[in-house]
């Protein structure tokens, strides 16, 4: 099983500069745990108190995961995951 994950510039310090990495898991949280095993530190930047961080957007096949279950969003082989930090401020 392989799921491609697009990594934003700001998080590429965890992926040796790679723009995309692959991982697997049947849900977004399982995928993040799998990524964490190869790219330690990444999980903390995505998850806080058991939930997706407020200002991190994750998309599965172009769908914002907040609308499809958040960390429980189901994943299958070949899915495309994109991580984008929110562009926001005050």
């Amino acid at each position: 099983m392989a799921i491609e994950v697009r990594i934003p510039t700001i998080l590429r310090t965890y992926t040796d500069g790679e723009k995309a990495v692959t991982g697997d898991g049947g849900s977004l949280s399982a995928l993040i745990d799998d990524l964490e095993s190869n790219h330690p530190g990444l999980k903390e930047r995505l998850v806080e108190d058991g939930d997706l961080r407020r200002f991190v957007n994750v998309y599965v096949n172009d769908e914002d995961v907040r609308f499809i279950g958040g960390l429980d969003a189901e994943l299958t082989d070949g899915d495309q995951v994109v991580v984008l930090p929110a562009v926001a401020g005050g």
Partner: protein, 142 residues
């Protein structure tokens, strides 16, 4: 230093004035690694607020996919302050996530929707550290 064309400068200022008293936001895309702000993309402020801005998450993805397809990056990320100076707020600094971008702040506090000068300033925001830089407005990018 940020070097920007008059047309791009004017477009950002016009957007900020139009959306006042809400904050306006957008980017100027350019070829990856070029430091050339070429293509203004106005974004909807999903927060619709005079004190906060946030790109709509679906539009954000569309924007990045388009930039990836064109080998572009956000050279400038801009937004307006409508009641305070054109300096990054604590929230701006905490949420800045494009270390390669010029963060442009426009303040419309003086003239609002009307004609008149605005503050237009640019910063680098890296690891929570803000560095102001000179803004050079040129007739056209060379």
């Amino acid at each position: 230093m940020l070097t920007i064309s008059e047309a791009t400068y004017d477009a950002i200022v016009a957007h900020a004035k139009r959306d006042h008293p809400d904050e306006a936001c957008g980017i100027v895309a350019g070829p990856e690694g070029s430091d050339r702000p070429e293509r203004v993309v106005e974004m909807v402020n999903a927060a619709g607020s005079p004190t906060f801005y946030e790109f709509d998450s679906t539009e954000l993805l569309e924007l990045y996919k388009e930039m990836w397809a064109k080998d572009e990056e956000p050279v400038v990320i801009y937004h307006s302050h409508t009641a305070t100076e054109a300096y990054p707020s604590r929230t701006d600094i905490g949420l800045a996530s494009e270390p390669g971008a010029h963060y442009v702040l426009v303040s419309t506090r003086e003239h609002g929707n009307n004609d008149g000068p605005v503050e237009f300033r640019s910063y680098r925001i890296v690891d929570g550290e803000v560095t102001e830089e000179e803004v050079r407005v040129v007739p056209a990018l060379s």
